[in-house]
């Protein structure tokens, strides 16, 4: 029983205690959940030093038998890739409690219990090294989110919840089939063992086999990301989810997809991943531009932010599939940055909804007159989101685009169009919502931020600046882990190619002229 086990199971314990609380005592339920989730967060901070000291390896390893037959192990560990994602999850859970304080009025007990169950699920996904365990947590995280949308969402919540469920389930069934196939071939679910077997050639997969297995896994993960054209569940899910649901979905759950690509797809199927890279990058870049263009014309704020996520996550995929240190570092950094700034955007949109009871941009205008601080915070978050330097998103985007340039100038050029478009859709929304004349409805209902609302936003604002300037606090463990992943992905000869890449890019530029 090490610290990671504690961090993992605390939310599950909280979930069970939460179920035992009296249904009608709402304030007890809220106070319990906030205290408990803060406790989990504080405890999780204790994980950081060990991982920083051992950035390239695994920390807090627990590897023991869970079920004898089939051989399913409880194998969890933490490394440079999962560390910040776990911290992000434990940070956002108490923030989600804070923002739901007034927002959630019905069935509070179920709501907060599901929130903790969700935390349990996502942490589990990020720390599991046994594929079956991973799969179980993947599904565990799906269920509470389904109910968060389906019970506490807006008008079309059932449609959105079912769509979310079916999309994800389709992917995860394919993943399950692939996991079982692998098990049949190897007799183990253990990811590290499987990786080792494949790297050393002890588990021989035909290239067709590994192609289809890669595709099955990738499909499941790409739905979650979501990668164009598998994204259409996302606007509905976000559009209908309660604020806390959107925050957890955007900030943490989408990253399960990109995380899993790095954790599972690349080490197990390096050759297939390399072969598929040009196609995947193309889809990612289409997603970057397409998501931005469609975001631009959304009349509903949450759907706008949802499409912007399609665009931002496209950068993550692009970065990963450049198979360069810079690109992978940028991708992981972008995952975290997007979690912070898009989470913050959904929170702020939620604040507006609580006041005006509308998500339609057209129902707002001139909000900065009655609520100057809310507008200021919104503008800062917007600037973070559009990648202004010294704020968080810039770092990831910069690294990803730099890596894209290393591979192919056209990748960089097309992806950079997404950066232009991001300022178009975000500033247009800001202008229509916060500036201009203030309609009476807005004057009557909109007030500035309350203390509780500040408490939820301040940590995220601090992170936006800290991650934008003090990248050295966050990048080293990510870097160390990506070095390891890249060694697995690159064929031996590729090391030389990687060095030659800059020259090649230059030559291509010459040819283009």
């Amino acid at each position: 029983m090490n610290l990671l086990d504690i961090v993992l199971f605390l939310p599950a314990i909280g979930f069970i205690i939460g179920l035992l609380l009296p249904r009608e005592n709402t304030s007890l339920i809220r106070n319990f959940t906030i205290a408990f989730s803060l406790l989990v967060f504080v405890v999780s901070l204790g994980l950081i030093p060990n991982v920083l000291d051992n950035p390239g390896g695994s920390s807090f390893v627990t590897d023991r038998v869970w079920i004898e037959y089939p051989a399913i192990r409880y194998h969890v560990a933490l490394d440079g890739l999962s560390l910040w994602l776990v911290i992000l999850s434990t940070l956002l859970t108490p923030i989600c409690v804070l923002i739901s304080w007034k927002y959630i009025q019905k069935q509070t007990k179920g709501f907060y219990a599901f929130l903790l169950l969700l935390e349990f699920g996502v942490i589990g996904v990020f720390v599991s090294l046994d594929l079956f365990l991973f799969y179980v947590f993947w599904e565990v995280s799906l269920v509470p989110m389904y109910f968060l949308i389906g019970i506490w969402g807006h008008e079309k919540r059932i449609y959105a919840a079912v769509k979310f469920f079916l999309y994800t389930l389709t992917g995860s069934l394919l993943m399950l089939a692939a996991i079982i196939w692998l098990y049949n071939k190897s007799g183990t679910f253990d990811l590290l063992l499987l990786t080792d077997m494949i790297q050393k050639g002890r588990l021989a997969l035909t290239s067709g086999e590994s192609f289809w297995l890669f595709l099955a896994f990738f499909f499941a993960f790409a739905i979650k990301v979501p990668l164009f054209p598998l994204h259409t569940w996302l606007p509905d899910a976000h559009g209908e989810a309660p604020t806390a649901g959107s925050v957890m979905l955007a900030s943490v759950m989408l990253k399960m997809g990109t995380y899993a690509i790095i954790r599972v797809c690349l080490p197990l199927f390096p050759n297939a991943a390399r072969e598929a890279a040009p196609y995947i990058i193309t889809l990612a870049i289409i997603g970057i531009i397409y998501g931005a263009l469609v975001a631009m014309v959304q009349p509903n704020m949450k759907r706008l932010v949802a499409y912007s996520s399609v665009s931002h996550l496209g950068f993550v995929i692009l970065g990963i599939f450049t198979f360069t240190q810079t690109g992978m570092d940028g991708a992981v950094y972008q995952m975290l940055s997007h979690g912070v700034s898009t989470g913050a955007l959904f929170i702020l949109v939620g604040y507006l909804y609580e006041r005006r009871h509308s998500l339609e941009i057209a129902d707002f205008g001139g909000v900065s007159t009655p609520a100057p601080w809310l507008s200021t915070v919104f503008v800062i978050t917007t600037l973070a989101s559009v990648g202004l330097p010294l704020l968080n998103n810039f770092v990831g985007e910069f690294l990803v685009l730099q890596a894209a340039m290393q591979v192919n100038i056209l990748y960089a050029a097309f992806a950079a169009v997404g950066v232009i478009l991001s300022s178009v859709y975000m500033l247009w929304m800001v202008q229509r919502t916060f500036f201009g004349e203030t309609p009476d409805e807005v004057k009557r209902h909109v007030f500035d931020m309350t203390g509780r609302e500040w408490a939820a936003m301040v940590p995220l604002l601090i992170l936006m600046v800290w991650m934008g300037i003090g990248t050295q606090s966050f990048l080293p463990p990510i870097r160390a882990n990506n070095v390891k992943t890249l060694e697995m992905v690159q064929p031996p000869a590729a090391a030389i190619n990687a060095q030659a890449a800059p020259v090649k890019a230059v030559v291509e530029v010459r040819d283009a002229n």
Partner: protein
């Protein structure tokens, strides 16, 4: 260590104080913070430059590693050399004067503290831009000044036009930044560093690209960025609209400092451009075309700030012409003199607008020279400076550019001379319409307070005598001597073009006031086209903005997303409805039952796995 970081740190502190607590501070306290921080910054610049002496070598200070990953290793460094020394003095000096002026100009405005917070933030980013020791830190300043420009153009945020103008400025700048950022990525890939020192020492031994290659591509992409920030063709469209901002903003950001950042950046990258003659020609031609085109628009405008805005675009074109013909130091020289006289033109215009309670239309002015004599005199100084009357500042720097242009390609000189004539015409047209004749408006003009007139006076002195600060000689060690032979006849011709412009304006607006209208009627359709700014905005709207917006809405969103993809998804939807119905039953509201479902699901999955079996 000379603590260069303190130079931008003072205004940053001012921004934080006024931004966070300004609402509760008195106007005096806000003033002290705002002006004091810029004053300290100015004094610190003087102290640093005095301490560094002749600056024969660049002085670099390294602070911390910013981003390190793979081939990227960028640290947050500041540096000073002679080029940045000139820029530092312009930015902090002019910035200080404009801050003082603004305390008078903005005294009746709401959001006083917010205004000064943004202004200080702008100073922080502008100084970072100038002090940057590598391209990425320069980019920080670059984006930051763009942000402040956006915030300050939209300062009167309840006005839709102001919000639109701010957004347009930001987005058009972002299009430029698209080029700039690609240039940065390409520099990193090509030279393995973004550090100015390293990049320039690596490019030194490379061959000059007489045929387009990587360096040419880098330079053209840099120029795309510069065209955005410094309002050159085809990206100049945001600057005239930017006049929606308060006038001190127009003076500081959209005339004297920020818009010259593109010129600075190209000048900074001179070692790269020297290896890419094709890119230099692009710079020169873009500059020249912009100069002519915007000067013609300036001839026809009636809004006093718009006249000066098109004039700024035109003068920036001159600067790029200078850079493009290899006369970098002449370009920077013009940056400085332009900062003096254009800041003065805007502040003077602001003083007029202030006197007329907000009126900006030249047709509703007239005869003001007796009512606001200080404003008149100082504006007159600016007008003769920009018109190229010797020996005032504009003459000196414009001449340096024109001579270099003639040396490069004589036709560039001639186009420049015609533009100089138009410049003199539209500036004096504004002066005559504003200060001569009889007053045509209804306000009660009053002279501005000392906080406004003193900066005007100082700037007037600088506009007249600033040309004697010999920037080209000071910068010679950096850019090499520029050996355009001094040709007196060419100088005389350009001076005469300016004189002709002034005389023509005198004829049109003083001697025969009806003449201007008669001429514009005679050239009806052409005049109309120029007056409508060649309808470039409408062209962009029709060819880019509307197709993108409507295409995204109709084809991508409703067509592809909702129509095709969701059509397929919902088409499998009989299934969806089936399962949806089943799930609805499940949703009976009991948490325990949900939990049971979760557990049940897990068991089914485990059973499935077991059934599928596996080897031990």
């Amino acid at each position: 260590m000379h603590q260069l970081w303190l130079i931008p740190a003072f205004p940053l502190a001012g921004f934080l104080i006024n931004g966070i607590a300004g609402r509760r501070l008195s106007k005096t306290a806000v003033n002290i913070v705002a002006i004091g921080s810029v004053l300290l910054s100015f004094l610190w610049v003087l102290k640093v430059l005095a301490g560094l002496g002749s600056l024969d070598d660049v002085h670099v200070e390294r602070y911390f590693t910013w981003i390190q990953s793979g081939i990227v290793n960028v640290s947050f460094d500041y540096a000073v050399d002679r080029l940045s020394a000139v820029m530092l003095l312009i930015v902090t000096g002019i910035g200080l004067l404009i801050h003082i002026y603004a305390t008078g100009y903005m005294s009746h405005e709401g959001g006083y503290y917010r205004f000064f917070a943004y202004m200080n933030l702008f100073m922080f980013f502008m100084l970072t831009l100038v002090l940057a020791a590598n391209y990425l830190v320069l980019f920080v300043g670059w984006e930051g000044v763009g942000l402040c420009s956006y915030l300050l153009i939209g300062f009167y945020f309840h006005k839709k036009s102001a919000g639109d103008a701010g957004k347009k400025a930001f987005i058009v700048n972002r299009i430029g930044d698209f080029g700039f950022s690609l240039a940065i990525f390409l520099i990193m890939v090509t030279f393995g560093s973004l550090d100015f020192g390293q990049v320039f020492s690596k490019v030194q031994p490379m061959a000059v690209e007489h045929q387009a290659g990587t360096i040419t591509l880098i330079c053209i992409l840099l120029m795309v960025g510069a065209a955005g920030k410094s309002a050159q063709l085809p990206l100049y469209v945001w600057l005239p609209d930017a006049m929606e901002g308060p006038t001190p903003v127009s003076a500081l950001i959209h005339a004297a400092t920020m818009v010259t950042a593109g010129v600075y950046m190209v000048g900074r990258s001179a070692p790269l451009f020297n290896h890419a003659p094709i890119a230099l020609d692009v710079v020169a031609i873009v500059g020249l075309l912009t100069a002519v085109m915007s000067a013609t628009i300036g001839l026809t405008q009636y809004d006093i700030k718009k006249v000066f805005a098109y004039s700024t675009v035109s003068q920036l074109g001159y600067m790029f012409l200078g850079l493009g013909v290899g006369a970098y130091s002449a370009g920077i020289y013009h940056v400085m003199t332009h900062a003096f006289f254009k800041a003065l033109l805007f502040l003077g215009a602001g003083s007029v607008i202030h006197a007329l309670a907000g009126e900006q239309d030249l047709r509703l002015m007239g005869g003001l020279r007796k009512k606001i004599p200080v404003t008149f005199l100082t504006l007159f100084c600016a007008a003769i400076a920009i018109s190229g009357v010797p020996p005032f500042s504009g003459f000196m720097s414009k001449d340096a550019i024109l001579l270099a242009a003639h040396h490069h390609h004589p036709w560039m000189y001639w186009v420049g001379v015609v533009t100089a004539g138009m410049t003199a015409f539209y500036v004096f047209r504004a002066i005559f319409m504003c200060f001569f004749g009889t007053y045509r408006g209804t306000a009660h003009p009053h002279e501005s307070p000392l906080s406004m007139t003193v900066p005007l006076g100082i700037l007037a002195l600088l506009s007249l005598g600033g040309g004697f600060l010999d920037v080209p000689r000071y910068l010679e060690p950096m850019f090499g001597g520029e050996h355009a032979p001094h040709d007196t006849s060419l100088v005389v011709i350009s001076v005469m073009a300016g004189a002709a412009g002034i005389l023509l304006a005198f004829l049109f607006y003083i001697v025969k006031p009806g003449l201007a209208d008669a001429v514009s009627r005679a050239f009806g359709p052409v005049y109309r086209l120029v007056y409508d700014k060649y309808r470039v905005d409408e062209l962009y709207d029709a060819t880019i903005v509307h197709p993108t917006r409507d295409g995204s809405r109709i084809l991508l969103w409703r067509g592809f997303d909702v129509g095709i993809i969701d059509g397929i998804v919902n088409g499998t939807g009989s299934l969806a409805r089936l399962i949806g119905g089943a799930l609805r039953h499940m949703q009976s509201g009991y948490i325990r039952r949900y939990a049971a479902w979760v557990v049940l699901g897990a068991i089914v999955l485990m059973a499935a796995a077991t059934q599928m079996g596996g080897r031990r």
